[in-house]
Structures are given as structure tokens and as C-alpha cells.
Amino acid sequence: MQEKLLEVENLRISFSTGDSLLEVVSDVSFDIDHGQTIGIVGESGSGKSVSARAIMQLLGNNAEVGSESVIKFNGEDILSKSEKEMRRIRGNDIGMIFQDPMTSLNPTMKVGKQISETIRIHENASKKEAAARAKEIMRLVGIPNVDERFDQYPFEFSGGMRQRIIIAIALACSPKLLIADEPTTALDVTIQAQILDLLKDIQEKTGTSILLITHDFGVVANMCEKIVVMNQGRVVESGTTSEIFTSPKEDYTKKLLAAIPNLHEEKSPESKEKLIQIYSGTREKLMEVNKLAKHFPIGRKNTLKAVDSISFDIYKGETLGLVGESGSGKSTTGRTLLRLHEATSGETFFEGEDLNTYKKKQMKEMRKKVQFVFQDPYSSLNPRKKVEDIIGEALDIHKLAKSKKLRRERVEELLTLVGLDKSFSQRFPHEFSGGQRQRIGIARALAVEPEFIVLDEPLSALDASVQLTIVDLLEELQRKLNLTYLFIAHDLATVKKLSDRVAVMYKGQIVELTDSEELFTNPMHNYTRKLLSAIPVPDPHYTATDASFSHDDSVEISLEGQTLQEVKANHWVMQ
């Protein structure tokens, strides 16, 4: 029998925090065969990344690995190796890919050098040989114009291209094991599909084993042969991919699987009722947007058309989803709508009144009716303020609380409304989890009793199971308070669940606009179809049916001379 490539047994890792030891990984065991791909799936704080770092011995000084733990790589005991011996393994036998391509490359070093550096360290190669090898690997990972790009700096590359460079660095010495720590989490869905394709392709060509760490079941379904599910530092369950998907044993695994948004779920009767009213014209319009455009000057000569003449309506009580990838102009649209940016041209009507004619005082009145919930629950709450003051500030600005006592009561009421304990009002943001913080953010938005809330990617920073609870909360609040949402997101799956209608944005334009069920069952614009086909399908037995879409970026979708037209009742497509 051939030996396993990697064996991890009883891995226990603690971090010292001041005087006490905090155990973050307990009793974790798994193994990887030669040429195998396994996935470690878990939510944030599950200890999955820390376990991977332990394999590389890159834990830092304050970490301690338990004495009973064993990590064997290629039959050799990793934990007993000296730092010098480890350096020979890192980058040579084990390559590592990190999550965020924007920060994982040295900004002051040419990318070619960053790749050839690995080769120069581990192999007795001359500068020239190493450069030639590096270029070869750049071609392997699909970077065009290698000779030219070799001497460029990271800032000259897009996120997807940078991730390819990082993969190239990891692959430079043909490692036996590739550890990919959330390699696609920071990327757009179409880029994610490209990178996953690339990883599969590389495995076929080089025969390396891959340890894929992710929070996303969709990503592992089609990549991995085996899955290890982790929670709070322990292995909950492990097995082959189809075992885990078809007959999960543990409740936690079931819960995670249930949190995967279902694209084929039918919309609620309530939502259908709303659509009938919208389409028959019996529902009131809240906002009317007419040829709105926002251009930013770049330097003296060029302009960036972030939003390029878009028109749509938002009806009272509905959720309009606005989907697009980074740079599509979706956030700018949200901001320009509320005059947080001044529009370059176009009109916006709020309850029938032209916002452009509003003076400062009227805008302040209007802002009371309109609120924002931001993407990052970690940076959008002032860390030095108590929850009571964070939520209460909005009350103060609009003078809605007559006394300190009433203010506190109102804050507590809001906390209860978003499903938090009212005693939380006296705590500071750092004491809360991401999901709880986002609830605080929502409570802050609700403080002034708005009619309309712009939700700017409120779920992207949260774990899947937490996302689900926030979506439920938002739906419930909409029902209770008759709120209207503009839901901005890059993730089609969550958009589907929350939105009544969806607009797809691409290059500053709306390319398709219809109700969400129609969009998912009958996507018409090429870009929408590309987006949909890029969503990783959380089903191990699924093979792509729409093979016409290679996830190749080089196929530009042109919008030249096209306009948004109603091609079918209530289904608008750019053509």
C-alpha cells in the first residue's frame, strides 16, 4: 500500500493570550493521498486555517502544538523538524495559496521576481534559468503576454490575475501538496469559476494533491473527493464528498448544507402578490430613476463612467436586487441615488418629487426616510462608542428622542426588534460577532423609522449560516414595517432569496431587469447567463449543462449601441 502524502493526527493547537492558553484546534485528524483533493469546510473561527498553517509550521510564536499531535508529510514528521529544515519544505514540497490576492503579493517587487524567488531558493538555478521557469509557470496558470507581464508590479494586475500569480508562486517548485486557503473568497463569482477551473486543470497536469480550505460548500462539491467539516476547532464529520452531501450524519453538517441558498426555490405567495400589483400598476412607486449617470474623472483627460445612464423604478414595499461584479457600478448607483454622490446627469424622483431640486433642509428630511446598511460590520461601527450611542446618534441627529430615558427605551426597543438582547446597549462593538454587528447596523438604520433602506452588500462579510438568519430578519422587518429595500449584492444566490425583482448591472449599465424567478429560470442576456453559470453548484454529481460558457474572461461582452428593451412582458433585456 502506498503511503499517505499527509497524515494529521490528534492535532491540538493553543494560542497564548496574556496568561491564559486558548485552545483553537482540538483533536483534529485527517489525511491526504497522493494526487487527491480534499476540502476542509467550516465557518470563521472553526480552526481550519490554523490547522493548515500548522502543516507549514507558520503559526507564529504565541502558538503551541500539543505534544500528542502528529503531522507526517511524505512519511516524515513535520513537527520535529527545525526551522531550517521546514524552510526547505515550504514552497518546495508544499505550496500555499492565500485568500486575498490584493494583499498577498509584495507591492514593491516585480511579479516575475516573486515567482522566480521561490525557484532560486530551492533549486540551484541561475537567475536566467529561474526566470525562464517562472515564465513557463506563468503560462501554465493562464497569464497572457508573459514576457511583458513578467516585469510588472502587482498593482498592474486585476484581482483574478493576481490570484494566478499567487498560484504560480505556490506551483513554482512543483510541490506535492498545494494548500489553498479560501483561494476564491475575495473574488467575483466569474473569476472564482476561472480559478477553480485552473486549480482542477493544474491538478490534472501536475498530479499535485490539493488541500482546499473554504467556507463554501458550493466550491468543494465539484473540486474535492473528500470533505472534512470543522466547527470550533474540532472535526465534526468527514467522508467522501457524496457521503457528506447525500447523507450527512451530524446536525452541524446538516445545518451548513441547509444554509446553502437554493436557486430553484419558489418565491413566497406574498412576493408573487407584490409582483402582480407592480406589473398591474396598482402599487405605488417610491422612487423613479431616469437616465441616472455618475462619471468620475480619472486624471485630466479620462472619465470613468461608473454609472452610465440607467433607468428603473422602485415600488413601495418591494425589494429590488441590484447584482453585479466589482466595478459594475452597483454601489455607486446606491450612493448616487441618495445624493451621497452628486449625479453627473439624470433625474431621481422620491415619492414623486425631483431630488435634484431639493435644498439642504429638504435633503435632511429625506435622509430621515432613507437609510443605509453597509457591507463590513467590522468597520462600519465606531469601536469607541457604546451600542446605545451608535444607534442613538441617528435619533439625536433628527431630534427624535425627547429625553435620555426615552432614547434608551427606543434603543432597547430597536435591539429587540432585530433579535438582540436589550442589555447589549451598554456594550461596545468588539464584543459582538459579525452577525450581531450587522444586526446592530440594521437597528441603527431603523432608528429613524425609514421607509427605504439601501442594503449595500450587507451579507458578504458573514458566514453562510449567519447570512441566512440576516436574510430572514430583513424579510421579517420588511413585512412588519412595510420597508422598501434596494439590495445591492454580487452574490446571485442571496439576491434570489430576498428580492422580488432583480436588476443585473454590467459596466455601469443595467443589462437585464425582471422578477427574480424569471431571471433565474430564463436568463436572456449573455452576461446574466455567464454569471449564473459561474455559480458553483453545491451538488457533487452535477456536471455543467451549459458548456457553451468557458469561464474565460477574454470574451468581452459588448454593450455597444444596445438599449434596454422589453423583450417579453416585464422582462427587460439590453440588446
Binding site: I89, T103, S104, I121
Partner: protein
């Protein structure tokens, strides 16, 4: 690069104009009548009037400014009241020791500051780190005239330990023995600032993801620090060095006085005492030009270090 340089030079024009406006208005703001100072206290009204005419003080202010600037452009900064010699001769004759002093002090403070900062950051929260940072705090807190005097007291006069070796001399400029103490005096505060800046900048960079990437490649810790971290950490440090050079020029005024160095700083101090205003005016102008020039240099280094600035 040339385009950038051209642009940067054009940008300095308004700054230089501002500088000439300020030095010019010094003349107008002097308490008392410049002509009176020139002609002496016992001058008759006729002599006063002649002095006034000679200085152009009867012209309207804009004309006076125009004359002043055209003089500056031609290198004519007027003439000294005391010696009667051209200000430019006096000032440039004394420039070398000052620039040398500032330059060596910068070198020393960059050298010491970088090493101390990097060591401190790498050995964070250890005894070495605390020692270095407490040292830096002292270096920062000591006024340099006091430090200069103490160095003279200990190393030249006081304990006798160093006496007779002739290693250190407390006056003059040119030989290494004369230069060591002033350079230490002037460079100490700079070392301290650069050390602290380097430390915090390094600590920030070490936490970055790309340092993790480098470690995962198998790069040795030493190379991680010097090849990957330091260059990125240098970017904010370079800015500080540039600003530091400016304050060194100012500090030179004091240090030169303490160590009796015949530099520009001492010339300015003596001229203030003697109310020799054209010299003061010329000296300040030269200092300001130097400062502007050094900051252009810093911008160039900054760009070489950080290619991303190309975009802007």
C-alpha cells in the same frame, strides 16, 4: 521619470516665490527703519535720505519686491552692513560646513535609526526592544544644545577619560575629531525619530499577507525582513527623513553655536546680534531653497521605492 522631474520642478516655483515674499517682507517687518540701521544712529537727515535712496526704500513696495527678486535671480543678495561684502559671498562661503553637518547627521541618524527600528520590530516586546525604545525616547527628549554641552563636558573637558587622546574637539570643523561630536549632537533626535518610525512601520508591514506569502515560499526570516518587509516599511520613513533634514538645518544653527563651527547657522546668529539684516535675509533664503531641493530629492527616492506612485 524626466517628465515627473520636470513637473516637480515646476511645482516648486510657487513655493520659491512664497519664500522670496517672506524673506523680502522680513526687511519691511524689522522694527525701526532699515535706512537708520544702515546709516548708523548718528546719521544726519541727509545721510538717512541718501541711505534710503540707495536701498530703494522710496520706491513703492511692489517695485522694491521686483528689484529684490531680480537680484536674487542674478545671485545678488545685497551686501553686508558690517563688512560691506556681497551677501552671496559671505553666505556661500559659510555654506559648506552647515550642509556637511546636516548631511553627516542625516547619514548617522538613518543608519542608527533604521538598525534600531528594525531590531526593535523584529524583537518586539523583548528587553532589547524596550531598551532601544526608551533610548529613543531620551534621544527625542533631549534638546540638542544641552546634549552638545554635556558631550563637551564629558568627553572633552570633564572626566579626563578621553583627554589627551585628542579624539574629540569642541570647536571648529573639518577634521574627524572636530566633526564627531556635532554630528552626534545633531543626529541624535533624528535617529530617535527614524527608529520609532521604522519600528512602527515595520510592525505594520510584518503583519501583512505578503510577508506570510514570502514565508510560505521558504524564504529565510532574515531575507523576509530585509528583502520583503524593509523596502515596504521604508516608504513612510523616507518622508520623515526628508522632513528631518529640514529640521537639521534649523538645528545646525544651535549646534554650530555650541561647537563654534563657522557655518551658515552661526553666521545668521551673529548677524542677528549685529543687526546685519541683509545677511540674515540671504541666509534664510538659502536655507529655504535647500529645504525645497531636499524634498524634491525625497520625492524621487520615494518614487523609486514605491512604483505605485507612478499612477498619480
Amino acid at each position: 521619470m524626466l517628465k515627473f522631474l520636470g513637473k516637480r520642478l515646476v511645482q516648486t516655483i510657487p513655493v520659491l516665490i512664497g519664500v522670496t515674499v517672506l524673506t523680502f517682507s522680513m526687511m519691511l517687518l524689522i522694527p525701526g527703519d532699515p535706512a537708520q540701521i544702515m546709516a548708523g544712529e548718528s546719521a544726519s537727515p541727509a545721510q538717512l535720505e541718501a541711505a534710503r535712496e540707495r536701498l530703494g526704500l522710496n520706491d513703492p513696495v511692489p517695485v522694491q519686491y521686483y528689484n529684490y527678486v531680480s537680484g536674487v535671480v542674478r545671485g545678488d543678495l545685497g551686501s553686508s552692513i558690517r563688512s560691506g561684502r556681497a551677501v552671496s559671498t559671505e553666505v556661500f562661503g559659510r555654506l559648506a560646513p552647515t550642509v556637511e553637518l546636516a548631511f553627516y547627521s542625516t547619514l548617522v541618524s538613518v543608519f542608527i535609526g533604521l538598525i534600531a527600528g528594525v531590531v526593535s520590530a523584529v524583537r518586539r516586546y523583548t528587553f532589547i526592544d524596550s531598551t532601544l525604545m526608551i533610548g529613543a525616547l531620551f534621544g527625542l527628549s533631549m534638546p540638542n544644545f544641552w546634549l552638545g554641552l554635556m558631550l563637551i563636558q564629558w568627553l572633552v573637558i570633564g572626566t579626563g577619560w578621553f583627554q589627551g587622546f585628542g579624539w574629540f574637539q569642541a570647536s571648529g570643523w573639518g577634521t574627524p575629531q572636530q566633526m564627531i561630536l556635532p554630528v552626534i549632537t545633531l543626529g541624535t533626535a533624528g535617529s530617535a525619530i527614524i527608529a520609532r518610525m521604522t519600528r512602527s512601520s515595520m510592525l505594520e508591514v510584518i503583519e501583512q499577507d505578503y510577508i506570510q506569502t514570502a514565508r510560505a515560499k521558504g524564504v529565510s526570516e532574515k531575507k523576509v525582513i530585509y528583502k520583503h518587509a524593509l523596502r515596504n516599511a521604508m516608504v513612510p520613513v523616507v518622508t520623515v527623513v526628508g522632513l528631518q533634514f529640514g529640521s537639521l538645518l534649523g538645528g545646525a544653527v544651535i549646534t554650530e553655536t555650541v561647537f563654534a563651527i563657522n557655518g551658515l547657522g552661526r553666521l545668521i546668529i551673529n548677524s542677528i546680534r549685529a543687526r546685519d539684516f541683509p545677511i540674515v535675509q540671504g541666509g534664510v533664503l538659502v536655507f529655504a531653497f535647500l529645504f525645497v531641493f531636499v524634498n524634491i530629492l525625497v520625492d524621487i527616492i520615494y518614487r523609486l521605492l514605491n512604483k505605485r506612485i507612478d499612477l498619480n
